[in-house]
């Protein structure tokens, strides 16, 4: 009899573990980094469209955070808004409304601009945040021209850990210098791809047409 009871407990525990594992595996966490440096500040309207798309796509239980990239971005203070949507669809809808309202703050924050662009710091912060959520599918969206500029005191030449995270660069605009020499643009993209892959990212993608975001979240 005791064997039966023990077996039942083991089965229940296994089912519970399987359920927990599955629950985490299906949850999504998205961290959107928005470049607010001077060269990119004009693209904020597009960023708003990306946020709208995410709000319309994410489901109850998923996590969304929006942070700005400025001179030094490895800080929680740079997160403009973050939320994990409730399990109740109606409540989740209310949270989405509130999140959308908070996005006005992003525009306010962007008005100040920043002298430098610390993409690496932002990615480190994003990885830390995403790993804390314990979600099964973690995504960092970088809305930037991917031109990193750091001041002399800031040290970012450090290894990153992006294991299990996919990184998507959105709306990577061409700079004036890229127009002079297109190799600079492709070199910049290749540099980030190499760096991200070396950090253990599960995927690296560049999507310049933000109308095609379903390629990232559709599947």
């Amino acid at each position: 009899m005791s064997r039966v009871v023990r077996l039942t407990f083991v089965l229940v525990a296994l089912i519970g573990l399987a359920a927990c594992g599955d629950k985490q595996a299906h949850q999504r966490a998205v961290y959107l980094l928005v470049d607010t440096s001077g060269t990119y500040a004009g693209e904020l309207d597009k960023a708003q469209r990306v946020i709208n798309y995410l709000l319309g796509t994410l489901n109850p239980g998923d996590t969304l955070a929006v942070a700005r990239v400025k001179s030094r971005s490895f800080s929680e203070k740079d997160i403009v808004a973050k939320t994990t949507f409730a399990k109740d669809p109606l409540q989740a809808n209310n949270q989405k409304h509130a999140f959308k309202a908070k996005m006005a703050l992003l525009k306010e924050a962007a008005k100040a601009g920043s002298a430098y662009t610390d993409i690496t710091g932002g990615m480190l912060q994003a990885a830390e945040f995403l790993n804390e959520t314990g979600a099964g599918r973690k995504t960092i969206l970088i809305f930037s021209d991917m031109q990193e500029e750091l001041d002399q005191k800031t040290i970012r030449d450090i290894p990153m850990n992006l294991t299990g995270i996919r990184v998507v660069a959105l709306n990577v605009t061409k700079l004036n210098t890229d127009n002079v020499d297109p190799r600079r643009y492709s070199g910049r993209i290749e540099f980030w791809e190499k760096r991200v892959r070396e950090a253990g990212a599960s995927e690296w993608r560049v999507i310049n047409d933000i109308e095609r975001l379903e390629r990232v979240f559709g599947g």
Partner: protein, 488 residues
């Protein structure tokens, strides 16, 4: 290390190797023949043994299927006979329980008719006493006496008056009798109607008796277990299997629609984004569970209403307990239908807020203004009605389900017998192929070493010629193997 003796000429190397190997092959001929023959026999016998076993298994299974089929047929025939008897009992109770009253009424009518008939009898008026006096007076001779003439004249007048009165009386009496006969007609009609009704009832009973006879005949045929009955029952089971399968498919379609109606709002109850093993969302599992519970309750409802007979224990419950169970199943089904109505409303609300939010997100959100009004309530009303009706509609799936289960036993049993027999045939075929393959291999071996065999035959014939004996044929060596072959 290469096998080629002459590296520059592989063909010649192969020929040389063959020639070197030929004496060894000749020497090993008998053992090789024995090995090949033994292997062929082993394979053939094993396969034939398997085929034999499968054939016996198929026969056993077929006998068992037959037993089950006939038992089902008997059960169905018994139920049909019981139903006919119940119908006859109902008919008898309904019509013949009023038979005493009907008989009394009929007797009353007949008595009345008899009385009327008796009253109608024509009774001749009794001869008056004075007739004899008249006859005596009439006998008086007419002597021309004036007194006598006067007397006779008076008597004649009196008689005329009396005659007129008697005739009038007679006519009145006849008229009264005609009136009585007029009243007689409705009673006659009533008797006719009553007898027609009785005839109709008797006719109904006769038809029921004919149906019972037919069912009894079928029952006897099933009981005799003839081949024809088995075929008929199998064919009937096949048709039932197909029809009930079709109806079940329609039922599953309804369940599928029901599932999608409640799966989304379920996320508000059990939480969205919760997953159970296998990528199944908790809300979907909960919706599935609700539908399965509804189906189960529907099954119990049908069972307690005695539409189906899947659970003998429920069927054998006493009427009071069965009725309680029926009400319990109905109450749960009703509550679940109510829950589905609530979920339909919730679904509409979730979709409406979602649509409104997404409209707010899009640039052209304000452009699309949807008219509000009673028209917009139609979908939600439709969902509510569907949510309420589908659980009850699903309950009726229990009836085809029962047919499907019973028919599936027969159909799959017959299919299994066919599959086993096919496998048996394949094994038997494999056994024959193995036996012939062994024989062919031995002949092929001999064909390869034909040269030493020819020499052997020449030597043997030379020796036999010298000794005056008939040379032994090389092929005769295979005779023992052929004898032991079990090909049939």
């Amino acid at each position: 290390m290469s096998w080629m003796i002459l590296p520059e000429n592989p063909a010649l190397s192969a020929v040389l190797l063959f020639l070197i190997a030929l004496p060894f092959l000749y020497g090993a001929r008998r053992p090789v023949h024995d090995v090949v023959g033994s292997l062929a026999r082993a394979a053939s016998q094993a396969l034939r043994l398997g085929a034999h076993w499968l054939e016996r298994a198929a026969q056993t299974l077929r006998a068992r299927n037959r037993l089950v089929l006939l038992a089902q047929g008997r059960e169905e025939a018994t139920q049909a006979i019981e139903r006919e008897f119940e119908r006859v009992t109902g008919l008898v109770q309904r019509d013949l329980q009023g038979y005493p009253a009907l008989q009394r009424r009929l007797l009353d009518h007949i008595t009345r008719i008899e009385e009327d008939y008796a009253k109608c009898g024509e009774v001749p008026p009794p001869p008056p006493e004075w007739v004899r006096a008249v006859e005596t007076i009439a006998g008086i001779q007419n002597t021309g006496d004036g007194l006598a003439q006067k007397l006779l004249q008076d008597i004649g007048d009196s008689l005329d008056k009396i005659y007129a009165r008697v005739v009038a009386e007679y006519r009145r009496s006849s008229e009264a009798r005609h009136k009585i006969l007029g009243k007689f007609v409705p009673f006659g009609r009533a008797v006719n109607d009553t007898l027609t009704r009785v005839d109709r009832n008797i006719e109904g009973l006769r038809e029921s008796a004919a149906r019972i006879d037919a069912q009894m005949e079928r029952y006897e045929q099933i009981h005799s277990g003839s081949e024809q009955v088995e075929h008929t029952l199998t064919s009937s089971a096949g048709i039932q299997f197909a029809i009930s399968g079709l109806v079940l498919a329609v039922g599953f379609g309804g369940a599928f629609v029901n599932f999608w109606l409640i799966a989304r709002p379920m996320s508000a109850m059990v939480g969205g984004g919760e997953y159970i093993a296998g990528g199944l969302e908790a809300a979907q599992v909960a919706a599935l569970v609700i539908i399965l519970v509804e189906a189960t309750m529907g099954l119990f409802l049908m069972e307690t209403l005695r539409f189906t007979h899947l659970f003998p224990r429920i069927h054998n419950l006493n009427d009071r307990m069965r009725r309680r169970m029926m009400w319990a199943a109905f109450a749960i089904l009703f509550i679940l239908a109510g829950v589905e109505v609530a979920l339909a409303v919730m679904r509409d609300q979730i979709i409406a807020t979602d649509v409104a939010f997404k409209r707010g997100l899009s640039d052209a959100g304000t452009a699309a203004v949807v008219a509000e009004g009673w028209v917009m309530k139609i979908p939600v009303a439709g969902q509510m009605i569907l949510g309420f009706i589908l659980p009850f509609a699903l309950a009726f799936v229990a009836v085809p389900l029962e047919y499907f289960i019973f028919a599936a036993r027969t159909v799959f049993g017959a299919g299994l017998v066919l599959a086993i027999r096919t496998l048996g045939f394949v094994l038997r075929l494999g056994g024959n192929v193995a036996w012939h393959a062994g024989k062919t291999l031995r002949l092929l071996y001999d064909a390869i070493i034909f040269l030493p065999l020819l020499i052997e035959r020449a030597v043997l014939s030379q020796r036999a010629g010298a000794a005056g004996q008939i040379p032994r044929s090389v092929s005769a060596e295979t005779a023992p193997l052929r004898k032991t072959g079990t090909l049939s």
